[in-house]
Structures are given as structure tokens and as C-alpha cells.
Amino acid sequence: MSGLLTIFKKELADHFASWRFIILFSLVLLAGTFAAVTAAQHIRSTQTDPNFIFLKLFVGSSDSGSLFSFLDFVKWFIPVVGIALGFDAINGEKASGTMSRLLSQPVYRDTVINGKFMAGVVTLAVMLTSVILLVAGFGMRVIGLPPTSEEIARLLFFLIISVVYGSFWMALSVLFSVLFRRVATSALASIGVWAFFVLFWSPIAGALSRAIEPPGTTVETLARYGQMNLALLHVSPSVLFEEAMSVVLDPGARSYSQLLRLLTGNGGIEFLLANPLSLGQSAVVVWPQMVGLFVLTVVCFAISYVKFMREEIRAT
């Protein structure tokens, strides 16, 4: 058996047997079902557009009055799962004294980090797939309609990008686990970045853009302010993810721009045809966001990879 497979298998077994996984998984299940149940209640109680009703289980709608939609839940909580799977990947082994024993075996160093990362991605994928399947199953019961093939394709897309999004946060926490010696430090640093981008970034971006481009009263200044705000918002991976997914999960959406959606949405000016987009076209709309997410993940992983490869194993 090759070294990579051995490490991958062991790490995967570790993840699945750990209390950490059990706790996270129960939380994911709980929150996921909660979001879907509230969305379903809303769908049943109101008359909504009958097209793509299945997807509405996952996006919810702004007027549903629920705390959060399934999409929100993925946006907020999957980063925590990713972080939990990676924050002690490297420094944890160093702290427990297993790293030098591991590296004295005939395996390349990159095999170690690759195996760990792969195991984390698979764990994330398993978690997300089971929650999405569970919600879908529940949805079929509540709505009484099976999903169309278009909806299934969109959900699959959503699943893949969600795994990439979670992997980004895992790559980030793996990076911190390479950079910092102590497990507590890397955990805190990862959670700090998470809080900054997921919770605080949109008010901060708003304030910053107001300072740089004051909205003023003319259309021109307002537009410039809007652009600046959008540009700043796009720094955050969770904004990228949310934009991409709100389009992928909503075939009616033409743009990720909140402004345009307000105009085209209910009550707005219907100057665009109301035909739903095909999945390919939806993907084109948010292609930059998805590429951005993917690149961020790769960059984080690459830095930790290089750092780890060059690191000296030292006495003490």
C-alpha cells in the first residue's frame, strides 16, 4: 500500500472516530434540518412561484421570517467545520511527538500533508452530502414533489462548491497549524479570520467604502460607492460563496448584484425576461466568484505545503 493511501486512510479513520467529528456532525445535521424545516413551512404557508420549488428549501427567501436559510447555514457554519478539521493537522502532531516518528518513515513529506488534506476534504464532502441528502429527502416528503433533473444538477453543483468553500477554510487552518507552534494559537487565529470575514466584513466594507467613495446624492457618486463596496466585499471568501450559490440555487437570478436583483425581483421593474437560466448560464454569471474561491483554496494550501516542506525538524 502506498504511503499516501496509508496516511489518508488513517487520517480519515481518525476524523470519523473523533468526538470533534461527532459533535460537528450533530450540529450540522441539527442546523441544516432546522433551516430546511422553516423554509418548508414557509413554502407550504405561502403561495410561491411553483418553479424550482425544491431549491427554495435550500435558499429560503428573504421574507420567510426564519432565522437563517440552509445557504446561510453553510456560509456560516461550514467554515467552522473546515477549521475544526485542520487547525491541529501539523502542530498537533508535533505537540504529541508523533511528527518526527512519522517523518522518519520512508514517506515524502508532501505525502503527509497531502494525505491529511485529502482526508479532510473527504470528511467535509461526506458531511455535506449526507446533510443535503437528508434535507432533500425531507423536502420530498413535505413538498410532495421529487426534484427535477435540473434541480438535482444545481444541488450537485452547490455541493461541490460548498466542499471547495469548506476546503478553503480547512486549508487556511492547516496553514496556521504549520505557521504556529501551538495548537491553541492556530485555532484562535483561524477562528479570528472566520469571525472577521463571515461576521464583520460586510459592515467594515460598508464603512470603508463610505469613507473612500462617499455615496453623496447623485447617481454617479452612488454608483461609484456601490462599486467600491462590491469590490471590498469580494475580498471575503464567504461573500464570494454566498453570491455564487444564490445564483446557482436560483435559476431566476441574472446577477449576483443585490441592486440588480432588487430591481428585477418582486415589485421591481421587470425589464428582463423572467425565463429561468440554464445551469450553464447561471454558472457563467458567477464564474469569477467560483474561480476566486478555488484559487484562494489552492493558494492557502500551496503556502502551507511550501512552508511544511522547507521546515527543519529540530532538536527539542
Partner: protein, 310 residues
């Protein structure tokens, strides 16, 4: 000296300009147990890490069985076993699984994995503990498990970094017996670092004392002892009564340099071990011999001597 399996050639390591290992030359033969002595920070661990291909030397070369540790780390890692000073295991996994992981990383087939794990656990006396989680193990058991972990891959060379720290005296003695038995049975070359000299003395064929990155002295223990003594022996003699006749008789023995008297003991300095002749001199002159001891200089004295020099 048999076939050389471990070789260092002007091995040097500097961290940010601070030299930790300084032009180290060393050759260790197959089947030897080599004791690496020295205070903390002398560069013992760094030297080991360079041999194992875990740390790159700044200059010079380390070779294991002819393979360059820096250029061919994987080949070297296949041949070497390593017990780090702060050895750790996956506490949530069983002892057996921990060893099996090592075995699998060494690309053994599943059948071999089971066989070797069982055998290794048996050898270190943990045969019935394979299914227990390592988290429940005592420090001494973990150290023995670390030895088993090395045995699993059946290396030609094993580096043991302070394998006896933190275990009780009985455990230490058992551990040392285990190490010397393994070296003999498996014809394994063992490099053992320690600062507990009396232990190393017991099982090592050869020792090297390191201080400030340099190998200050190196050789078989007896030889080092003789060198440190400057070729002199001291015999302590206790008799019921010390008479002038006895004193002069001892003084006449060829090779005796000096006799000092304090109470009822005599301290005889001589060029070689003259105990039989001294005994005869006492008995021939109607003395009653109570006790006679030779002061061989222990490794401790040598160690201290060289430490002062370093």
C-alpha cells in the same frame, strides 16, 4: 572493526550562524552499540537528525550503509529506526494500530504487518497490551512501545535518543537489557544518546563524548578509562594491621610507584593491576588481608574530566 554502516564526514550544522555540530567525523561498524554522551545542547540530537535525513547539514556528509542521508533520505529512512527523545504515539489509537501504521508506511503487506506487530510487541514485553489505547500506557510502557515501533520495520540501524529518560530504575535496567539483546539478536547497529553514564557504560561497546558540537573523545570504554587515568592504577588495601615489614615488601614490588597510608588502609599507586602481588606481599609477611579494591576510573570520571576540558 567490521563493515562501516554509519559514517560522518566533517558533518556540520549551524543555525543562524551558531554552530551546533562542528566538523564531526565518525565511523560506526555493523552490530555495534555506540553510546553518544554529552550535556544538553551538545549537538547529539542534531547529529542524529542529520544521519536520519530529517535535517540538512550545513556542510559535510552523513551516510548510512553507503546512502547519503541528505540526497537519498527515503533509502536511509527505510534502513533506520528512530526513537525521538520526546516520543509520542496517537493516544486514541491502540498500541497495535500505532505499530501497524508504521509498518504500513514501510510498505509491508497486510500479512507481514500483523506478524511483525505481534512479534515486536512480544519482544518488548507488551504482547498482551496490543489492543489497549496508548493513552492508558505508563511512560515506561511508551518507551518500550517506541522500541517496538523501531523493531517493526526491522532496520539495520537504530537511533535511540535518550531512551531511558523518565522511567524508573527497574525500567531502565530492563530497557537496557532489551536494547542490548535486540542488537545481538537482530544484528542491529544502535546509536544511543544519553547523559546517564552508568547505563551507557553497561551496554555500549564504544562511546563518544560530545561537547559544544565536537566529538571530544571516542573509543571503547576501557581504553578511555586508561587514557583518562594517564596509565595509572590505584589499589586500596585494608589489612588488620599495617606493619613496616608489609609496607617495605609492597614498596619492593616492581611497578609500585607510591604507597600512602591512612589509618588501617593503604593506597597503592602502580602502573598496572598488581593486586595478586600485593596480596602475596601482605600474606607472606604475616599480615591479614581484609579487603582489596582497585579503583578503575568509571565513565563518570572520564565524563567529568572531558566536560571540564570542554
Amino acid at each position: 572493526m567490521g563493515q562501516v554502516v554509519i559514517e560522518a564526514d566533517k558533518l556540520t550544522k549551524a543555525y543562524n550562524g551558531k554552530v551546533v555540530v562542528d566538523h564531526l567525523d565518525l565511523k560506526i561498524a555493523e552490530g555495534e552499540i555506540f553510546g553518544f554522551l554529552g550535556p544538553n545542547g551538545a549537538g547529539k540530537t542534531t547529529t542524529m537528525l542529520m544521519f536520519l535525513g530529517l535535517t540538512e547539514p550545513t556542510s559535510g556528509m552523513a551516510r548510512i550503509a553507503g546512502f547519503n542521508s541528505t540526497r537519498e533520505p527515503l533509502k536511509v529512512k527505510r534502513l533506520t529506526g528512530y526513537v525521538p527523545e520526546k516520543v509520542g504515539f496517537y493516544d486514541d489509537l491502540t498500541a497495535g494500530y500505532n505499530l501497524a501504521y508504521t509498518a504500513r508506511l514501510n510498505r509491508l503487506t497486510e500479512a507481514e504487518v500483523d506478524k511483525r506487530v505481534a512479534h515486536s510487541l512480544e519482544v518488548v514485553g507488551l504482547g498482551d497490551k496490543g489492543d489497549q489505547k496508548v493513552g492508558t500506557f505508563s511512560k515506561g510502557m511508551k518507551q518500550r512501545l517506541a522500541i517496538a515501533d523501531v523493531l517493526v520495520k526491522e532496520p539495520r540501524v537504530a537511533f535511540l535518543d535518550e531512551p531511558t529518560t523518565g522511567i524508573d530504575p527497574e525500567g531502565i535496567s530492563k530497557m537496557l537489557d532489551l536494547i542490548s539483546r535486540i542488537a545481538k539478536e537482530k544484528n542491529m547497529t544502535i546509536i544511543l544518546s544519553s547523559h546517564q553514564l552508568n547505563q551507557v557504560e553497561r551496554i555500549c561497546h564504544r562511546v563518544g563524548i560530545m561537547a559544544k558540537g565536537k566529538l571530544v573523545v571516542e573509543g571503547p570504554i576501557e581504553e578511555l578509562g586508561a587514557r583518562a587515568r594517564g596509565g595509572k592504577y590505584q589499589v586500596e588495601v585494608k589489612t588488620t594491621e599495617i606493619t613496616d615489614v608489609i609496607l617495605s615488601a609492597i614498596g619492593r614490588i616492581k611497578g609500585v610507584l607510591k604507597t600512602e597510608r591512612s589509618g588501617d588502609t593503604l593506597l597503592v599507586t602502580c602502573t598496572e593491576d598488581l593486586r595478586p602481588l600485593i596480596a602475596r606481599a601482605i600474606i607472606d609477611n604475616q599480615g591479614m588481608l581484609v579487603e582489596m579494591k582497585i579503583h578503575t576510573q568509571g565513565l563518570e570520571d572520564i565524563y567529568l574530566k572531558y566536560f571540564k576540558e570542554a
